[in-house]
Amino acid sequence: MEIKEEKRGKVKIVGLRGRLDANSSQRVEKQLLALINEGEDRLVLDFSELTYMSSLGLRVLMMVAKNIKKVNGKLALAGLNDHIYEIFKIAQFTSIFSIYPSCNEAVTHCVD
């Protein structure tokens, strides 16, 4: 799992590359929650290079969403592949997350 960070204006973009699973979820959770603690409250998670996600990945996203909500921040997801989107539908994550095809659209959501 590779984690890339980029700042665009007030928005922090975190790109995840590889598999968000039992092996990587703890590290990703720690890094994302640390960003929120440091004051990053507009977060875009770019999944365009993410190939796989299990329920441990969904758990990380739920933690991040709850923590962003606590600080009245904004969170958007971008670039989910079809298989991951299918898992989102089964978990009914599509109704609680803002999901965009591209990173640019997700950034716009967080700026507004």
Binding site: A22, N23, Y52, S54, S55, L56, R59, K66, I90, I96
Partner: protein
């Protein structure tokens, strides 16, 4: 119709999940599974195994978990056998997914995904072991279009 089988023995350590994914990758290639079916097979087994590895043992000892997958006539039969404490996943109630974000639990989704991605799940406890057998239809390759 073809028949393919795989047997994987894993230790009760979460790092073994990477080994599982590697073996399934080879199996998927041999059986020409669609990327969707292979993704879902990986997910089903990771969910079941992560549960077993995290919760089935309280003794800090090394244990072996045996995974089998057979593909016969387009149906996958997936078996997991462990010598952990008795655990029947069919007795776990489904999570409440209709709640707003603040009230939703962060966990509990793994078994829900397994239920949704399989056509049947059977649990038996015999000889001090948990046996879980899951069935899943694989995607057929699409028939070729013909010009009428």
């Amino acid at each position: 119709m073809g028949y393919e089988q795989i047997r994987i023995v894993l230790r009760n350590d979460l790092s073994e999940i990477a080994k599982l994914h590697g073996e399934l990758e080879n199996f998927g290639e041999k059986c020409s599974l669609s990327s969707k079916t292979l993704f879902e097979l990986n997910l089903i087994l990771e969910e079941v195994l992560a549960n077993v590895i995290s919760y089935a043992y309280g003794d800090n000892q090394r244990h072996e978990i045996v995974v089998r997958a057979d593909l016969t006539d387009g149906e996958l039969v997936i078996e997991v056998e462990d010598d952990g404490r008795p655990f029947n996943p069919l007795q776990i109630p489904p999570p409440d997914l209709d709640r707003p974000l603040e009230q939703r639990s962060v966990g509990g989704l793994g078994l829900h995904l397994v239920r949704e991605l399989t056509s049947s799940i059977e649990y038996t406890r015999r000889e001090e072991k948990n046996h879980l057998v899951m069935r899943k239809k694989t995607e057929k390759s699409k028939p070729r279009q013909r010009w009428m």
